[in-house]
Amino acid sequence: MEALAISLVNAVPLLAGVPLWTVTLLLMVAVAAVILVFALTFEGVGSLVLRKVAGDIQARIGPNRVGPNGMLQFLADGVKLVLKEDIIPANADRLLFKLAPYFVFVGSFAAFVVVPFGVGLIAADLNIGIYYVMAVTSLVVIGVLLAGWASNNKWALLGGMRAAAQIVSYEIPVGMALIPAVLIAGSLSLQDIVRSQGGLLGIFGWNLFHNPFTFFSFFLYFTAAQAETNQTPFDLPEAESELVSGYNVEYSGIRFGLFFLAEFGDMFIVAALATACFLGGWNVPFFHVGTLPWIWGNLLSLGVFLTKAFAMVLIMMWVRWTLPRLRVDQLMRMSWKYLVPLTFVNLLGVSLWLLVFRGKGIPGMIASLFG
């Protein structure tokens, strides 16, 4: 960020008098704001799309009153959430009750910082990118637990417990399923991982097609990540038919809104990580983005990245409205008895593959056959 600030100061003579740290700070705030705006927009539009998809799948129309085809529904919803009365139950632990939504929202939003939107479009290319995502999302668990506990409500408590157990359990397969991408790139940085998937006509460089194990790995990741973010069919913490609405049952107004936004934020993070680690990230097929001028290259790669990510989000919504929910013991069994061992075996497979074939994937080998 400081390097960017220096180049900015050099480029704009007006800024010469301003101390460097001020520029850096302002830049940080600006970048954070841009990401926040993106996240909020995505979350708003996402909620609308979710309802439209739900409508389609359930053979009904979905929201169609506000604006053309109900397109502005999410704005109306947002206004409603903000204006609604904020109720705190009488016996709730007031401080924790207020604190919990922030934990959840910050945990989900902070992960956006390392999402590689384009060639140069990343807020902070941390050298531990993937671990950073896992670290900040662990805040979500704490927030969810607190929400459940502070509400002083049976359903909320049960929901919070379930959510925490689920997130902690599924964190392991998620991490293990992502490691193959790290092994291939030799780096934890998401930018490096995306870069390692360039070349080979753009599509065959993807980690998805690198070898059979990475192909498998993608599906393991996607399944486990769905569960980690409490999406249907793993949405037991909310399970409206048994737990009313789970850990957020006592929340209303903007506090509920924060949970709601965080849920969509998580959805996008899952999709973005899947895209970056397995689907080639911002790499444009048949084309080398680096050769374009900075602005066009970034715009193009941003478009490609978002297309892939949104496609993943749509698949998640599709899954969400078609599959029935698991039972809580089935859920835990699935993680510990199936996903965890499978991801470990898979990781071993990928490591062996990389060892035996010196890091070359199947498409790479085929390509080298034809020179």
Partner: protein, 162 residues
């Protein structure tokens, strides 16, 4: 800049730690523990040990404290039944001893004061991995035996019928 941040996060960590032991409600203690752990992670980041910081947050804040909170929630002691701390002789002595100890540490710190200089690569993924699989390989493997025993123990104690 770095020194300021170091002092800031160090102070947060220390204050958080003090709050952990002085809060009456276990839930509050657990939350302050999280704060302390995050502050320590921030200190790691200041020393360029990003990997350690991430691991610190994932393992401690994300898993260990979550388990603590779990247990606190399951036991769920009502507010009025929390034990009341009374100032007994032993407690007073304990506080005095702690004060003495802090004094000693301060003397220590003064004598071994070291400026925050450039750091060797100790907290990177590579450095940690290398240390773990060469010098500390035996310790690493023995940990697995320890965890195995602990897992079996947890099941043996918790399961009603084996």
């Amino acid at each position: 800049m770095e020194t300021v941040l170091f002092i800031l996060f160090g102070a947060i960590a220390v204050c958080g730690a003090i709050m952990v032991v002085t809060r009456k409600h276990p839930m509050a203690s657990a939350l302050y523990l999280i704060l302390t752990l995050f502050a320590v992670a921030a200190l790691f980041v200041l020393r360029q040990a990003h990997f350690l910081a991430a691991i610190q947050v994932i393992i401690y804040a994300g898993a260990v404290v979550v388990l603590f909170i779990f247990v606190i929630m399951l036991i769920n002691v009502p507010e009025d039944r929390l034990p009341v701390e009374r100032a007994t002789t032993m407690r007073v002595l304990g506080v005095l001893a702690a004060g003495f100890f802090i004094l000693e540490s301060a003397v220590l710190a003064r004598r071994f004061w070291m400026p925050i200089g450039p750091v060797a690569e100790v907290g990177t993924v590579e450095a940690v991995g290398r240390a773990l699989f060469t010098d500390y390989l035996l310790a690493f493997e023995i940990t697995s035996v320890l965890l195995l025993a602990a897992v079996i123990g947890a099941i043996a104690l918790a399961k009603r019928k084996i």
